[in-house]
């Protein structure tokens, strides 16, 4: 195979083009059995967690008891956000708020909140090419 030169390309991750994989892979729910701030979390775990987990079979849910600490929802994500994750402290909040915060985590991509500079982000080169003064029709050329 001599003389064949090819341009090596790194695979571009475009989640959604072929198949869509949910970015959230694991959710950890920590609670305290004694503390009052964990009441909402305890209610959620007892009443609604089982039904909630059935809707998201691709996510791993882990429940941890952490005595003496406020209840926290932690989400782990795939891709560049794998090391960071997201956490929401749900202290003193009721069962519905805990569920809504959990939905936020589960529907997130894991990325940090950022103000978008451009509305469209593309990995493709521009379709119509960059303008060149040499390829303008002579009739419309800039005349000095």
């Amino acid at each position: 195979m001599t003389g064949i030169s090819f341009i090596q390309q790194v695979s571009k991750s475009r989640n959604g083009v072929g198949a869509f994989i949910r970015p959230c892979k694991k959710v950890t729910l920590t609670f305290c059995n004694f503390g009052g701030s964990s009441k909402g979390m305890r209610d959620f775990l007892r009443l609604r967690l089982a039904k909630f987990t059935k809707e998201y079979p691709e996510i791993q849910f882990q429940v941890l008891q952490k005595p003496g600490f406020h209840p926290v929802l932690k989400g782990e994500y795939i891709g560049s956000e794998a090391n960071v994750g997201k956490q929401i402290c749900v202290k003193n909040w009721n069962i519905d708020v805990v569920e809504n915060k959990l939905k936020l985590l589960v529907n997130s991509s894991g990325k940090q909140l950022k103000k978008p500079k451009q509305n469209v982000k593309s990995l493709n080169e521009s379709v119509r090419g960059i303008w060149s003064p040499f390829h303008v029709d002579p009739a419309h050329r800039y005349k000095i």
Partner: protein, 182 residues
């Protein structure tokens, strides 16, 4: 360095004063015929039906064969009357929370103004490129928000200042398909 166009397909360019890209010429055989003002819909939800035309005359679709032979295509979508120029695989950030779609849902775009390639453009003013001609699909990949900031609301020569916490919603789509069906 620059991709040179073949002289046969080089079409005259209209030099415009402001934009960087000067060419906006469309050959006559590709210009859309008079289209009926059908009820156009917003980016379709997964179970969206086709918009119905009020007039009896059929829409004339010009010969899009030159466009079919092209490798790279772009399209200009109109989402809530705002234009977004996209190619396949792009991430589009919309400045609102999509109420009828969760992440993973597929949207079929119906309000498409332009579809084009390097050398040819098919443009319809009222955004009525028929879905039989072109299929543009997007997947909702993220429903997030902008970082919170504090907005100061005050009037001139009034020392009272209200502070409002603002955290606007965003929806991110990925264009999963941009295909000519003809």
């Amino acid at each position: 360095m620059f991709r040179t166009t073949i002289s046969k397909v080089l079409r005259p360019c209209l030099v415009q004063t402001t934009p960087v890209r000067a060419f906006s010429y469309t050959p006559t055989f590709l210009q859309a015929a008079a289209t009926t003002p059908a009820t156009s819909t917003q980016p379709a939800k997964p179970q969206e039906t086709q918009p119905t035309t009020t007039k009896t005359e059929a829409k004339v679709i010009p010969n899009l064969l030159p466009l079919k032979y092209e490798q790279d295509l772009y399209a200009t979508l109109s989402i809530h009357n705002r234009p977004y120029l996209i190619t396949e695989g792009d991430e589009v950030t919309l400045p609102f929370r999509l109420k009828h779609g969760e992440i993973g849902d597929v949207l079929n775009f119906t309000n498409i103004t332009t579809v084009g390639s390097r050398n040819y453009t098919y443009h319809v003013e009222s955004g009525e490129i028929s879905p039989e001609v072109l299929s543009v699909k997007g997947v909702v990949i993220d429903k997030t928000k902008k970082p919170m900031y504090v907005k100061e609301v005050t009037k001139r020569r009034n020392r009272h200042v209200k502070h409002h916490k603002v955290k606007h919603d965003l929806t991110v789509l990925r264009i999963s398909e941009l295909k000519l069906k003809i």
